[in-house]
Amino acid sequence: MATEVLMPKQGNTVESCTIIEWKVAVGDMISIGTIVCEAETDKSTIEVESTAEGSVLALLYQEGDDVPVMTPILAVGEKGESYTPPKKEGELEQPQATERQNDSSTDKNSNLVTHTQSPTAEVGASPRAKVAAKQLDINLSLLRGSGAKGLIVEKDVLAHSQSAPILTPVAKEKAQSGNYTIPQTGSGMGQRVLSGDLTLKQEQKESTTTSVTGIRKVIAQRMFESLSTTAQFTLNSFADARMLLSLRKRFKESDEHLNLRTITINDLILYVVSRSLKDFPALNAHYYGETIERFSSVHLGSAVDTPKGLLVPVIKSSESKSLKQISEEFKDLANQAIEGKSLPDDLTGSTFTVTNLGSLGIESFTPVLNIPEVAILGVGAIAPKAVQVENEIEFIPHIALSLTINHQAVDGAPAARFLQHLSHMIAQVDLLLAI
């Protein structure tokens, strides 16, 4: 007496399973627990075990068929026993007991989309393939199934979604740099990706987070306080830089034991500022809201770019120091700041600040006040400027100057006069050195 093996029930919601592959053939001897076929639900792939033992008399469905659960899928009995399969619902004729073909290549390797005879499947696709197609928004009718009789199985859908786009030779070479995003389909022949279809990747910068501490925190607070509590106002001007350049050249070429070779343009500017401020006491001052404190000495701050951030070492009583002294002192202070060895006193007490970005090629910028100071001088790059000399145009090197003042403490006109004076002094810095 033949026994039927049923398509097992898979939970409460699965109504049918698709037979992906038979693992046994008619005539095979099987026992309870032998894997008879692989089947697919819309959620998983299962292996169906035999619930009977004996010789396989008939396979009741073909690979690719969608079989309702608890339906007989194969018959087991005595070897040679005859078996009449029950009539399947919706079918007029008895299905043929399927023998496993020795050469299954005609079915398995078929690339044609053929609809299965399964009573429940409308499209030749397994339930999982349909779910995947829905998720990936893929039109199943465009696919070629690799399953039995061209059944579209899940892996066909996944392969389609992952199938590499076809690139033209030029596009391929361009894409090799890895800097381009390759679209799934392109605008070329047969949706080939043309070089023009490649788009530059947005640079993916890795970000890092650090806490704002130490010097950065001090700078952050002071800069914010500066801009939020004062009325800053910047004036821009130029100074004839020919004398600066010629002096700098002479220092460089001077006798070594004069120790003048390292004097820089910035040192000369600091020197001119130290000498000019005594005539403009309003700019050598601190503003405290209720009071303004003017200083007779020029304690000159000069901004230094250090690995930890901006520091402003101070040359005390600069008005009484020679150019050479200013130069040497500033060099020492700057080195200490860069090495992180500044003493607290070296970084406090300035009455006026100079900040120089000229060596970085900056044409002009807006310096931010080093409060409570009321003025800061920004120094830009030296560049030729067209100047009318008699009836001709000459290109004369000029240095850019930007003076920011606190308009709460100083007015525009006196600030402009100071800048004008500074400009004159820079142009004739050689004479100033004699004073």
Binding site: N139, T168, P169, V170, S187, G188, M189, Q191, L194, S195
Partner: protein, 450 residues
């Protein structure tokens, strides 16, 4: 009211191809034609001119082939017979299109179509409705405002094709493809031809090395470049030449071929956005009304029959096919069937430079080619020029003058369309001996490395 899946207005190489493709996909298609099936291409353009030019070529060969061992006594050209052969060709092609329409189950209605609204078209008293409309109404010759342009002996390409006797003298105004082909034809069959072109050079789409060569092959044509026609009377054409001097030329007949304009009559109700004199379309060939498409000459993008057919494929693929396509214009070949043919595809050297591309070029004479030499000898004009992107090595343009140019150029279109590089093309085998080998030779001349 009759309803269809698609209405197509105009049955030229845009319209009838669209109708055939959609019909073959099982769609209910209505094709409306005010004249004869086949449009300008079949009836008064590409095809009839090819028939006449071939008859002229045979005549020329009969006269000039003595050095090749052929002697034809008293060769003469019989225009009525050439016209009859041309008409037979047209009729055969027209019936071919009729057959194609029948087998694709396309409904053909003869008459003038007026768009009543964006879904409804009227022909005579009958209204037709469809979710989609394709405008493929083509273009017509422009008649510039020149004094005397209305005279009977001033013709356009449409009328000149039904000529019964050859004039003694013909002046052609405009040195584009149409003007040049007629100049080649009429000068070959014994008409005294003068061609007046406003620009400094003929054929604006041609590479600057090719255009002068083409002029050189048309020895019997009297060219006046940089010249402007000011007046036409019964006997003469008046023009200002390149030196700003007033001049005249005796002309029994005048052909005007200065350009073409879109046929937009009947479309007024749609108020479609225009690009100058043409209907604006996007890359999918949709007009400003998205379910109305405009293909072929009417959109002014590329006034070539094969462009119209490709546009038809793009639209039908997007409407009823599986793949969404966009119209690409980078690799559309052109050909001119003068008696030394010329063709081109892709960018000319100057166009590439204007686009800021760095290019390498190579030009080789066709007399180095076996078949060319065997058939035409070493004195004939023939050149192949290739334009290649200096950085990627991609082939950007191929420009040819010489025999079979029109047949060879599709290969260049394939290479450019596929963005092949010089190194890729070097792997392609070309038949030998064939003139097509010049492309490969030019690329090896450009870069001899393997």
């Amino acid at each position: 009211m009759k309803e269809f899946d698609l209405i197509i207005i105009g049955s030229g190489p845009g319209g009838y191809i669209a109708a055939q493709r959609a019909g073959q996909l099982g769609k209910e298609v209505l094709l409306i034609e005010k004249g004869e099936l086949g449009g300008v291409c079949t009836n008064e353009g590409c095809i009839p001119t090819k028939s006449l030019l071939n008859s002229a070529k045979l005549y020329k060969n009969a006269l000039e082939s003595e050095s090749k061992g052929l002697s034809v006594k008293e060769a003469s050209y019989n225009l009525p017979q050439a016209m009859e052969a041309k008409n037979e060709t047209i009729n055969t092609l027209r019936s071919g299109i009729e057959f194609l329409m029948r087998s694709a189950k396309v409904t053909v209605v003869k008459g003038f179509a007026t768009c009543v609204d964006s879904h409804t078209v009227q022909v005579d008293e009958q209204l037709y409705k469809a979710p989609y409309i394709i405008l493929a109404t083509g273009s017509s010759p422009i008649l510039p405002p020149i004094e005397g342009i209305e005279l009977d002996h001033v013709l356009t390409s449409s009328e000149i094709l039904s000529l019964e006797t050859l004039p003694e003298t013909l002046t052609i105004i405009g040195g584009g493809v149409i003007g040049l082909e007629f100049a080649s034809y009429f000068s070959t069959v014994g008409v005294n031809v003068t061609l007046i072109e406003m620009e400094k050079e003929i054929a604006p789409m041609m590479d600057h090395e090719i255009a002068p060569l083409l002029r050189r092959t048309m020895k019997k044509v009297n060219f006046h470049l940089g010249s402007t026609v000011t007046k036409i009377d019964q006997k003469q054409v008046y023009f200002t030449n390149a030196k700003k001097e007033e001049s005249t030329i005796a002309s029994e007949m005048v052909l005007v071929s200065v350009g073409r304009k879109a046929n937009t009559a009947g479309l007024e109700q749609l108020s479609l956005t225009q690009d100058g004199a043409f209907i604006h379309v996007n890359e999918h060939l949709q007009t400003s009304i998205p379910h109305i498409y405009a293909i072929g000459d009417i959109n002014g993008k590329s006034l070539l029959a094969h462009s119209a057919s490709r546009m038809a494929d793009v639209v039908i693929s997007n409407l009823f096919g599986k793949v969404k396509q966009q119209m690409r214009y980078e690799a559309i070949p052109w050909a001119i069937y003068t008696l030394s043919e010329a063709s081109g595809c892709g960018l000319t050297e100057n166009q590439a430079l204007a686009l800021g591309r760095s290019v390498k070029t190579a030009s080789i004479q066709m007399r180095s080619n076996g078949r060319f030499l065997a058939e035409l000898g070493k004195r004939e004009v023939g050149l192949c020029k290739v334009v290649v992107d200096e950085h990627t090595g991609a082939l950007l343009g191929v420009h040819l003058i010489g025999p079979y140019s029109s047949e060879i150029i599709f290969g260049a279109a394939t290479m450019i369309e596929a963005e092949l590089r010089v190194e890729d093309i070097k792997e392609i085998v070309f038949p030998h001996p064939s003139v097509s080998e010049v492309i490969k030779d030019a690329l090896f001349a450009l870069d001899p490395h393997l």
